[in-house]
């Protein structure tokens, strides 16, 4: 890790990160509040192999609770880190995270409305998803309406403004909420947690994440060019305006869909892209898979901490901040690596 220029040669890094993610996930499967013996584990896997539905508590824990939760950690971490890479490249700014355009604030508002109206969990998730997409859509419309200015600047400022509005609306609903049942639920949701993830949630989230990922993979070369700046992009024949819409839409779709099941988890999309950039350099084609794999491992790791530190869950959003903030300060202090 002597600098971004030295790193891109090592072709084993991405396969290595993939192996690491699998190893972390496998290790996480053995940790938890419910004791699962080795024999129980083997029996459970055999039963799963023969296609039997979960019977024992051990099987329920492994395949109904821990398994989906770890998978969710992988997906959420990968999606947030991937979106972070995209946004940082797009805005050519290292301080940008997936929620710069207000997706988290909008998703938070959607979920809080759902909790406030005492809706069932699935409806709360859908409102969070819709809220995230709608907020970013609104920000984009503002950017389109304000012509003649630096489009990235208007986007970021629009995100700040709409995000602040959503935050104010959340505060209003918190005041109106029933302090004995809705308020704690709202607080927990806004802190982010994977505690309530079910197998079914994954099936709802995976398609949206994949749909978001496809254009990012197909357009990887153009996105690389985009990070050079609009002028350079134009001279290389890349039409930055339309590309920006597609890329924002894709990254927003990924973020909004995972935030809908996990709640607001900060810092992953900010810090992980930086570490990935230190490892593989700024080339988007390698940066995206590296960051997604690292984000996946990181979130599973932190979530395992969240569920095993005590009998009572520590919301994962708190842990990612506690780990992420000092690390980011260290990056700032170190401050030598290039980001683009």
């Amino acid at each position: 890790m002597t600098g971004p220029r030295a790193a891109p040669q090592a072709s084993w890094i991405i396969p290595g990160l993939a192996v690491l993610a699998i190893a972390v996930a496998a290790a996480a499967l053995t940790v938890g509040a419910f004791p699962v013996t080795l024999e129980g584990f083997i029996r459970a896997v055999k039963n799963l192999w023969s296609g039997d539905l979960p019977q024992t508590s051990e099987e329920r824990v492994l395949f109904g609770i821990r398994g989906p939760r770890i998978l969710a950690g992988l997906i959420v971490g990968a999606a947030l880190a991937g979106a972070g890479v995209v946004y940082q490249g797009l805005f050519r700014n290292p301080l940008v995270s997936p929620d710069v355009l207000g997706v988290s604030a909008g998703a938070g508002l959607g979920a809080v409305i759902g909790i406030f109206l005492s809706l069932p969990v699935f409806a709360i998730q859908m409102l969070a998803f819709g809220g995230g997409l709608a907020t970013v859509g609104l920000v984009y419309l503002i950017a389109v309406a304000v012509r003649g200015r630096d489009p990235t600047l208007v986007l970021v400022l629009g995100g700040v403004v709409v995000g602040a509005l959503a935050g104010a609306a959340i505060s209003l609903l918190k005041i109106l909420a029933d302090p004995y049942d809705q308020l704690p639920a709202i607080t927990f949701w806004l802190l982010g947690s994977l505690a309530s993830v079910r197998g079914g949630d994954l099936w709802n989230v995976m398609p949206a994440v994949l749909i978001g990922l496809v254009p990012l993979v197909l357009l990887r070369w153009q996105i690389n060019v985009l990070s050079l700046g609009d002028e350079e992009a134009k001279s290389l024949g890349v039409e930055s305006g339309r590309l920006r819409v597609i890329v924002i839409a894709a990254a927003t779709l990924m973020t909004a869909s995972v935030v809908a099941i996990s709640g607001v988890i900060g810092w992953v999309g900010l810090v992980i892209p930086h570490i990935a950039r230190m490892l593989v350099g700024p080339n988007f084609e390698r940066l995206l898979p590296a960051a997604m794999l690292m984000g996946a491992s990181y979130l599973v790791l932190v979530d395992t901490l969240a569920r095993s530190l005590g009998r009572v869950e520590v919301p994962i959003g708190i842990l990612t901040a506690v780990v992420g903030a000092p690390f980011f300060l260290w990056l700032l202090w170190r401050g030598r690596h290039g980001w683009s």
Binding site: F34, Y180, F188, R311, V312
Partner: protein, 357 residues
């Protein structure tokens, strides 16, 4: 415990001093040990929050100037007609102030009552509001154990000592009865209970929190014991619930109860309480039976839960006991059909979803 005993002693002592007809301005010592000067007549009372509104309504309903939030359709039949349409006035202290001091002044109350924690934070808040508004502000201990002394204290503050005494007698009898019977039930025979909150049931009150003290009081054991100093509301993972494997699950969230009842969630089906059919839904009209708010509304839930936990050892005639409680505390003669609604509710069949706000 010694601090608390001293406080209830102070409360009791001040009650004896005040047990004479009130004519001139008088002073009272509230549960936080604050000395408050009261006006001759108390006609209008501002209840600072949910728990206070329940207790003020129970002791002296005609003084109420409003509810922290307007009553919902399902709650209205269980509140006396005169108080049914009182306006929404918000909360004054605690989590999420929605009533500001000017609103309070506009209502021109003779007294502000808060019921709940009497810790230093709330005592200083009370002092500050009292100073700014010039309206006397009393802080009453809202814990279960303090119920009787708090009723007596409030009866005296309001100038209706016999009313305070009647409510205190009810709670004294109930607690005494529980204590006597629970003495014969060893720890290991008490059911292990999980109190499920939140839309997915993964929120709970830790052992020792005001939200779950009803479990221990009714002779159960709260499985959510952080085994440290933590109290209050916490999030737990489904895996932890399977590991705890509670004998009984109690909730007031109908969405969650509905999901369990329909067997919709295979994860919960592995929990002993669900397999044994011991998942109980607490009614919440006009106030919650087990919490929400954590006030004296929990006394009826205490009878109900003790009976669910221990059966015939705590006889509970839901028809008769509910009617008596609602008559004494809520000033209503519950009609047969409303009573049926409550009984079906406590049996896991709540009335159809009311419109919210």
């Amino acid at each position: 415990m010694t601090r608390i005993d001293r406080r209830s002693f102070v409360a009791g002592a001040s009650m004896m001093l005040l047990a004479r007809p009130a004519h001139a301005a008088r002073t009272v010592t509230d549960s936080a040990g604050r000395t408050v000067t009261l006006p001759d007549r108390i006609d209008h009372v501002f209840a600072a929050g949910g728990p206070a509104s329940v207790v003020v309504y129970a002791v002296r309903p005609e003084t109420m100037v409003g509810w922290p939030r307007a009553l919902r359709a399902e709650e209205r039949p269980f509140i006396a007609p005169a108080q049914r349409d009182l306006p929404e006035i918000g909360l004054l202290t605690g989590r999420g102030d929605t009533a500001n001091v000017e609103t309070v002044l506009k209502m021109k109350p003779d007294l502000i009552v808060d019921y709940g924690s009497v810790r230093q934070t709330f005592a200083t808040l009370a002092d500050s509001v009292q100073q700014r508004t010039g309206i006397p502000y009393v802080l009453i201990d809202g814990r279960f154990e303090a119920s009787s002394s708090s009723f007596r204290l409030l009866g005296n503050i309001f100038g209706v000592p016999e009313r305070g005494e009647a409510l205190a007698t009810y709670s004294d009898d109930l607690f005494k009865n529980l204590d006597t019977t629970l003495k014969g039930i060893p720890e290991e025979q008490r059911p292990r209970v999980y109190l499920a909150r939140g839309p997915d049931g993964l929120e709970t009150g830790l052992k020792g929190s005001i939200n779950t003290e009803i479990i221990e009081r009714a002779g159960g054991r709260n499985v959510a014991d952080a085994q440290d100093q933590r109290r209050g509301i916490a999030n737990v993972s489904p895996e932890q619930i399977l590991a705890w494997n509670p004998d009984v699950i109690v909730t007031w969230d109908r969405n969650f109860h509905d999901k369990l009842a329909k067997g919709g969630d295979p994860l919960w089906q592995g929990v002993k309480a669900v397999k044994d059919g011991r998942v109980y839904l607490a009614p919440t009209a006009p106030f919650g039976w087990i919490d929400r708010p954590p006030s004296i509304n929990r006394l009826i839930g205490l009878r109900w839960l003790a009976n669910l936990f221990h059966g015939a050892r705590f006889p509970f005639d839901i028809r008769q006991d509910t009617r008596a409680f609602y008559k004494l505390f809520y000033h209503v003669d519950v009609t047969d059909s409303d009573l049926d609604t409550l009984i079906a509710w406590a049996d896991g069949k709540p009335p159809s979803r009311p419109a919210r706000r």
